[in-house]
Amino acid sequence: MIDPAAVPGLPCDGEGPVFREPWEAQAFAMALALHARGLFTWPEWAATLGAEIKRAQAAGDPDTGETYYRHWLNALERLVAEKGVADAKTLARYYNAWDHAADRTPHGAPIELRPDDFE
């Protein structure tokens, strides 16, 4: 048996790595970076994240911890909109541009955004 404590600094638990998918890590890092830049305080963050978790629960989310970073992403989008950085329309425009970029990128190649993806 491998003793997890014998591996210094490995932040794993019995259920695997702390981030299950790269996007979870990106979303996590964005919140830390925006806080460091002063866009919001931790109490604001906790209140928004708490509200998003409650909202998801009310909508039937089992809230078992597996969907935690989805709530995290919702909270990020909401705070970014509330702070006037990007409204829902801007988010949707970039969302569609990335979707377009993915569609035209051959499978296996890195997906990159080009100006014409916005057209």
Partner: protein, 210 residues
């Protein structure tokens, strides 16, 4: 957000899930507006994936077990004491260390979301973020402890600390018997993540993997 159909599976294009698209959209906007730097984001992820974990907390606990002055400093102002050890990632305002004794066992939870002492324990385990733990830890702490295989004497009081964005807690578990004269390094191996959340106890010398 879009009515675009993501179920197509042609052989030529790539696909990103709805969530991946949202994350990329957000990151691009924030980068273009100068709010984030992709390299800095990568550095944050790298730090949390490889460098910050329960081992940081274990070092703090082992030092408190062997150094009475440090223990006093830790219980007085954990933020300052932990920073003095070089754990610099400061998230939130106050870190409070709560000491387990034969009379009192401490457990931490965040009933609102999942505030957690990141700088000493890394990222929270899945169960810590789950609704069952968040609600049951307060209502039925002994039941939760039983689920984790921990049975405490009846006379031990169980105290549950609800974390907030301003104040987060770390449990200082009891030093196991039979470890007199051990080095800090050896003692740190006995300190599990769960023992610092309060859902576990420190390992006994005999439970250490060979």
């Amino acid at each position: 957000m879009t009515d675009h159909d993501h179920d197509h599976h042609d052989d030529h294009g790539s696909e990103l899930s709805e969530t991946q698209l949202r994350v990329r959209a957000l990151e691009t906007i924030l980068t273009e507006k100068g709010y984030v730097d992709p390299a800095a984001l990568d550095a944050i992820v790298e730090t949390y994936e490889t460098r910050i974990g329960p081992r940081n907390g274990a070092v703090v606990v082992a030092k408190a077990w062997t150094d009475p002055a440090f223990k006093q400093a830790l219980l007085g102002d954990a933020t300052k004491a932990v920073a003095a050890l070089g754990h610099v990632s400061k998230v939130g305002d106050h870190l409070v260390a709560v000491e387990n004794t034969p009379e009192r066992h401490n457990m931490i939870v965040c009933t609102l979301c999942s505030c957690y002492p990141w700088e000493v324990l890394g990222l929270p385990p899945v169960w810590y973020k789950s609704a069952p733990y968040r609600s049951r830890a307060v209502k039925d702490p002994r039941g939760v402890l039983a689920d984790f295989g921990v049975a405490l004497p009846k006379e031990t009081e169980v105290r549950v600390w609800d974390s907030t964005a301003e104040t987060r807690f770390i449990v200082l578990p009891m030093r196991p018997a039979g470890t007199e004269g051990w080095s800090e390094e050896r003692l740190a191996d006995l300190v599990t993540r769960d023992s610092m959340i309060g859902t576990g106890l420190a390992r006994k010398p005999g439970e250490l993997a060979q």
